[in-house]
């Protein structure tokens, strides 16, 4: 009678001991990841981390560790809301482990200590990170330190509605040669406005629909500044080129004056714009490579290549044809335990493998991050990613990673909008921008 209970308690004790020893080895980690600008085509920004977690768990199992990773995903469709939420969360020490944002955030966020350098946690010399395009990795760096791993690349082309180009006199051969002509500077911004006007005069598009640019603030507008000869940064200092900025502002003021762009274009509902460019209501417009996915998947433009031709942003007076790459980057936020951050870094590394990253590139029509990715059949078999990579990526610039660039950007945009809508004359807008930049940034910006 006495042996049984003793045996029983011994068994229970052994079971408890055994279970605790298992628990001692088991590691349960929750990694949260937030991504800005994430629509239905961009889900792999978050899902890739989940895929990576599966892989890391298997690797840990082989090493005899019981690692369980739960990935908490949070997409934000708008940028303003996302940046507000992230910065305030980070200040309140409740930031996610991984954040997917524009590379231009690296400078202010690293300076204020919201993010930590990813190079402290991963080996940049090992695959797949050693295969990432060197220029993209440079864009993901600040002060010579690699803070982020590029999550995608993209470019921002100019789109032309083919049937209207034909209707104003372009032959198929002319259209085929258009990308090269733009690249060589033979087709310029002046030609673009002329063609847009022709489309309207012929009644192909309604007034104000000849040139139908982005409807809100965005990196696109720096391409126009580059087109007109502007430089954003030189030797670590921001640059405000008055003549180039005047030509940029003047271009949009002229487009409005000629009636090819609407004065009230900025601020129109995004959905309306998408529907209009997808159905041939607009003649020429600019956008990102990822627009392809939206136009084809959500807006019903089935024969994209039959209807649309894309090129670099043409050269304007004093500048060159260009495009802008605006990679989103995986960043690690501060304020988490070393172990968690290290796991987060490992997940980012695995998510950057060519086949996993290609899922995002193809689904969202962004561009790949490494040479190896362009050799993945799944990626190279896709006409859009292949052509866009070849035509645009070699000519891509990027915005500077400078902690004061956001201030410059706000001032530039505010005055562009004012001159576009006629609230200010072009010269007054440039003058106001100059005086505000001087009073705000002082000698941190070169004005010339």
């Amino acid at each position: 009678m006495t042996i049984l209970p003793t045996l029983k308690s011994l068994t229970i004790a052994a079971a408890i001991l055994a279970s605790t020893s298992v628990f001692a080895l088991a590691k349960d980690v929750t990694i949260s990841v937030w991504a800005g600008g994430t629509g239905p085509n961009d889900v792999y920004r978050l899902d890739a981390i989940e895929i990576a977690a599966q892989q890391l768990q298997r690797e840990a199992a082989l090493k005899g560790e019981d690692l369980k990773i739960t990935v908490e995903k949070k997409p934000y469709s708008a940028w303003e809301d996302f940046k507000q939420a992230l910065t305030l969360a980070a200040e309140a020490k409740t930031a996610p482990n991984i954040v997917v944002s524009g590379h231009e955030d690296i400078a202010p966020w690293s300076q204020s200590g919201l993010i930590v350098p990813i190079e402290d946690y991963v080996d940049l010399d090992s695959w797949p990170l050693n295969g990432i395009y060197e220029n993209l990795l440079k864009i993901a760096s600040y002060n010579g330190t690699v803070y982020g791993i590029p999550q995608d690349a993209e470019s921002r082309p100019m789109f032309f509605w083919k049937p209207y180009m034909k209707a104003i006199g372009y032959s198929d051969a002319d259209l085929d040669a258009l990308p090269q002509n733009v690249q060589d500077g033979k087709y310029t911004m002046k030609n673009l406005l002329e063609d847009a006007k022709k489309m309207q005069d012929k009644g192909l598009v309604q007034p104000g629909y000849g040139f139908y640019p982005r409807t809100s603030n965005g990196p696109d507008y720096w391409q126009f500044y580059t087109s007109f000869g502007g430089t954003m940064e030189e030797g670590g200092k921001l640059v405000f080129d008055k003549a180039a900025m005047t030509r940029t502002y003047q271009f949009f003021a002229d487009a409005v004056k000629a009636g090819v762009t609407k004065k009230n274009h900025i601020g129109m509902p995004g959905d309306q714009w998408w529907k209009e460019v997808a159905t041939g209501k607009a003649g020429i417009w600019d956008g990102g490579t990822w627009h392809y996915a939206r136009l084809v998947n959500q807006e019903g433009l089935k024969d994209f290549f039959g209807n649309v031709i894309f090129t670099l942003i043409p050269a304007g007076e004093g500048g060159k044809a260009n495009t802008l790459t605006h990679p989103l980057v995986y960043l690690l936020t501060a304020g988490h335990s070393q172990d968690d951050t290290e796991i987060a870094a490992q997940l980012v590394k695995i998510a950057s493998e060519p086949r996993t990253n290609a899922l995002h590139a193809v689904k969202s029509a962004h561009l790949g991050i490494s040479e190896a990715e362009s050799q993945v059949d799944f990626y190279s078999a896709d006409r859009w990613t292949r052509e866009a990579t070849e035509r645009l990526l070699p000519h891509a610039n990027a915005m500077p990673n400078n902690s004061d660039f956001g201030t410059y950007w706000n001032i530039m945009w505010k005055n562009l909008e004012a001159s576009w809508t006629g609230a200010k004359a072009v010269d007054a807008a440039v003058g106001d921008a100059e005086s505000e930049l001087k009073s705000t940034l002082g000698d941190k910006i070169v004005i010339r």
Binding site: W79, E80, K83, Q84, T87, E91, S101, E104, A107, P108, Q111, S112, G113, L114, D120, Y121, V122, D123, L124, D125, S126, N143, G144, T145, P207, N217, G218, G235, G236, K237, K263, N264, I266, G267, M268, P269, Q272, E342, N402, S403, D404, F405, G406, T407, W409, N410, W413, K414, E417, A418, S419, T421, G422, A423, K424, D432, S435, E436, S439, D443
Partner: protein, 433 residues
Amino acid sequence: MKSSRTLGLVMIAPAAIMIVLFFLMPVVLTAVFSMTNMTTATGISGGVYQIAPNSLITLKSVMPEIAAELAEPRYTIDEAGLKAVESLGLAPAIAAELRAKHAGEVFATRREAERMIKDLAERPSTREVKQISEQFNRSVLNTRFDSKEQLFSSLDGLGFKLTPEQKETVAKTTYTGWTWTTDNFSRMTRSPDMARVLFNTVLYVALVLMLFNVGYALLLAIWTHYMPATPASIFRGIWLLPRITPVVIYVMLWKWLAWDSGFISILMGKFGYPPKNYLLDTAYNAWFFVVLINGFIGASMGMLVFSSAMQAIPKSQFYASEVDGASRWQQIRYIILPQMRWPILFVTCYQTLSLLASFNEILLATNGGPGNATEVWALSAYHTALRNYAGNLEYGLGAAMALVLVVIGVMLSLLYLRVFNYRTLVAKPLIED
């Protein structure tokens, strides 16, 4: 007596705490933030000292030689570092091989040093490589120091001969956090855009207040005063709808009405007019809609206050005036309006203050456009401090703008009290303390 006073203080304590926490503190904090240059880049919770290439650009113009020296990144395989590696508790072969093959070598970047470490026979893991390379870091470049003292001792340790003044300059240029400043206020006075935003605000408050919140509200109240009770209640109920409709839906309805694919465009299309975006077509249009959108919401409150005030006027006054043969206009002029001074003061004062601070309807309808034409002060402060595409949130400047609103609000309140002669409106109590 004394105990009742103590009891009174205890009773009022919760309210006092609430007032301090939720009413006074935000204003005090706004005032504090407004005297700083806080942005996303400086962070809110203090900064560190970091000798980074971007701060060296500034330092280069002040002390070029020291800046050049500080910029020198060095990873030196020296005895101190080797000893530190030995104490890390890694495989002993690592330190031994480093000492035998690499002692005395200098690497310009961490990546180069780490490549060498990765080539060791006993290949360390990535985490260990990072630990080892850190032991040989003989540069202050990109290192973050929590305090000035740490920065200075590190500079001393690396053999930099700097005078106290030079040290202070280095500290000043390499500080990443926010500093106290009055620049926000001078920026506001210098910026031509701020003057424009201020003008917009005055225009917005004046138009909505005069045309709708007081003017139209009074008209509605008088109108319904002379109506039979049931239609008057129905009428008032309908006018309350804009206020009780969720603001996002309410503004969306206006957008459907005024966008180029909206109701007005479709209607005008029947008469041969091409569709256009009536809401953002011109600055005048935008103002027209902004005033209407806010006015229709604001008018309802004035209407309710004025209606109930009119109900309080003794009916006998109206009967007597009718016996005397007074017209409706004379009743309004000599009976209603003189007795409405207090409600008008209240509505004007309250609505001025809420209009000064309100921007959500404008944010949703025009977002300050076209071309910042409808950007009012509160919206501009919000855009500056909390929401912009470039993500550089300027908390300090935004707080300074908000503080201006607080000051204007307080001044206007005092002005209203004086204009409406507050003392004669409030009768003195007959029984004094």
